[in-house]
Amino acid sequence: MKKTLFLALVLVLAMLVPMTAMAQATPLRFMYYIDASQAGYAEDQAIWQKFKDDNPDIDLQMEILFNEPFHEKLGAYIAGGNVPDVIYMWPSNRSSSAILHQMHLMKDLTPLMGKQFLANFVAPAINPKAQPSGYLAELPQSITYTTVMYANKKLLADNGFALPKTYAQLKAMVPRLKAKGIQVITLPDGDGWQMQSCLFSTVVGRMLGDGWVDQVIKGKAKFTDPGYVAALTFIDTMFKDGVIPRADMQLGYGDGPTLFASGKAAFIIDGDWRQGFYITDKSTGQALIPLDQQSSDFAFINFPAIPGEKFPGVVSAIQGVGLGISAAIPKGSDKEKAAVRLLQYYYSPEVQKIKLETGAFIPSLKGVTSDALEPFTQMMPKYYAGINKISYVLDGVLNPGVCNNYVNKGLQEIGLGNKTPRQVATETEKAMADWRATQ
């Protein structure tokens, strides 16, 4: 008996981790979101290392996760009541950010960062009304245009087509391109959110407008209204006309750009964040689309005119992701000052320039330029400049339950041919009515 007990004790002691002593520096817990296989990862890590080196009085404890593990961990932190000090957040009710907004768990950055600091950003980025919390809970590092039609204009020209301005022109491309083994548009919707986020939101913005969406949330309009059914029907039409293959509803998100870059699809509809996917990855020196082809062979265009649209040229856009500061930090404390310093560093022109150059995003900070930009990254701001009006992205304004389970899934089912637009509209309205009743 003695031996066993002794052994057990040894086991316990051997595994015991000594208690941590507090460092002199101010500890700052920072939860960040990036994947090691993304382009620009090494540069990103260097950014944080520099902050650590330059700020020895701050003990920056970074926890870097991605996808599910990130959302799960943050969910656990929130439930456990120890929200990290600085968090990578979405401006909308996306996953883990939802509770942060709804429960006002983050500080209001408008007074904290100061008007002078914020004046350096484009106006839509610092608009607090765009965030579910009603105040600026996170500082968007970019304005994300969720609909960009990346076009292979060389491929089109080779087949005798110009860039389309109307849907009819798009439709006319189908036979000729199909005969060459090329699909007109690829929109990978295997994960279920891309169709809504990257196309349908724009369609709703064009055919119904933000005002209507506001009414639907209040209950003064319904998803069964003819206008919404028409919007769904337009998506259905695109599948029926062969403009988007039904197979794309099961295509993985990573497969789309490959199709596009290899010339198997003439257009890919994706968000503006994707342009970084095609440029040179500095760690390997390879680019999905070679530099010399980027501007000569490709173009970013707005989605063509939709029959029956009320608001031509509208594109769905939303504040981008960014960093937020936990409301649990005592006002005026060293920790708060450290957090502010971290944000000031991250949102400084130098750091934002690095992000711009790695193709991560187009900063919302004004005046960030670089000579080292690849053509794709230069083409994107020009695309923005050509858009006169933006509309909601549906997953940013609708409650997640209805959006994920009825709007997103409904679009997939229309694409797969399993449900009709009217069916989807009816089911969506029913779920929405249930949700309205709980408000």
Binding site: S95, P175, K178, G181, R246, Q250, T258
Partner: protein
């Protein structure tokens, strides 16, 4: 009588010393969380800090009621039932039969088979998920093979049609034949196939028939799409097959290990008496393993109802939730969008209740039909 030497107190001390570590660990790791889980499932906890945050309280069994009325719950349950069925009636018998074959050396290289069939257990589910995507993707391996077959078939037909027509001779009849050969495809691409297809073909250079034929294959050929993966029930078939492949090896090892404990002489005696392998398997080996089999069945049931990682990695419950399992539904409720912990925990407890029912049934079956050890 000998017990008087040491006494009950020593016995009790020993008992508790041996049991306490396990009990403490159990309380720590499972006990406390399960209590919280039960409480949450009957509460109106809304996310945010669980203790010390906004107040929340017990509201009753509304979540369970909601669950009963939720069609997604029932479809997820159905999928779980499929998994239970394939596990009990697929993995166990197959594992048993394989184990028997190896044990009785009916198949050679038993060592190799044993090793290889158990290997899927070692592979991380992430790998399996990637493989699944590569194989079933519309761009994947199956797609490539099927599309080549389709292309070959329609290419053949097109060649025949043009040969019969004598080359680039585009009559209405030729067009009609082409449309028929393509099945539904022509109608999907053109609104008015006879006219439009003819117009289209006439844009081609008459001297380049090969180019026209090649392009017509693209235009009129069927493209394989994994539509079966989007239909409820049918979509589960490949998933079930992967599950079968993944876990059978585990039961093979378990059964084989226990078979090797059987006294070989009993088997020899049976064979000398003229029993066939089938009879040996069912009359001798099966009964002596009945305890192990029941244990395996219990593990199987618990595992099937809790099954998460494998299916999540392959299909994530999709597309459009057709392959969703109870555990995936629960996961989404807890971590996707606004967390709905009451719902998630209600689902978790439903799984427990269902497992208990199934295991009770298993135990009943064992009492009725069980053999001697």
């Amino acid at each position: 009588m000998a017990r008087t030497i040491h006494g009950r107190s020593e016995e009790r001390l020993a008992y508790w010393t041996m049991v306490l570590p396990a009990v403490l660990l159990y309380l720590l790791v499972l006990g406390f969380p399960i209590v919280i889980s039960i409480i949450l499932s009957v509460s109106n906890y809304n996310g945010g800090k669980m203790f010390g945050g906004e107040p929340w309280g017990i509201v009753g069994f509304q979540q369970y009621g909601k669950l009963m009325r939720d069609p997604y719950f029932w479809s997820a349950l159905k999928n779980n039932v499929y998994i239970v069925l394939i596990s009990i009636f697929g993995q166990l018998p197959l594992g048993f039969i394989f184990a028997y074959l190896i044990y009785r050396k009916i198949v050679k290289f038993g060592d190799f088979w044993q090793g290889v069939l158990y290997m899927p257990n070692i592979i991380s589910v992430i790998v399996i998920g990637i493989m699944w995507a590569i194989i079933f993707s519309p761009n994947g391996v199956i797609a490539e093979i099927m599309n080549r077959i389709y292309a070959g078939s329609i290419s053949h037909q097109i060649t025949q049609i043009f040969n019969a027509a004598g080359g680039f001779n585009i009559t209405d009849d030729v067009v009609r034949q082409l449309i028929n050969a393509s099945g539904p495809v022509a109608g999907q691409t053109f609104t008015d196939p006879p006219t439009e297809l003819k117009e289209f073909i006439l844009t081609y250079d008459p001297n380049n028939l090969e180019l026209l034929k090649h392009d017509l294959v693209n235009l009129l050929g069927t493209k394989w799409t994994p539509t079966f993966l989007s239909k409820p029930d049918i979509a589960m078939l490949p998933v079930l097959f992967v599950i079968l492949w993944c876990w059978t090896g585990l039961y093979l090892i378990l059964f084989l290990a226990n078979m090797q404990k059987i006294d070989g002489q009993i088997i020899e005696a049976a064979r000398i008496d003229g029993a066939s392998e089938g009879q040996v398997m069912s009359r001798v080996v099966l009964p002596s393993l009945s305890g192990v089999i029941v244990n395996a069945a219990i593990l199987c049931i618990a595992g099937s109802l809790n099954s998460f990682a494998l299916v999540f990695a392959m299909t994530r419950g999709g597309p459009a939730r057709v392959t969703e399992l109870l555990s995936i539904y629960m996961y989404d409720a807890a971590f996707f969008g606004t967390p709905n912990y009451p719902l998630a925990n209600a689902i978790a407890l439903s799984i427990v209740i269902l497992s208990m029912i199934l295991i009770a049934i298993t135990k009943l079956v064992e009492k009725r039909y069980g053999g001697r050890e």
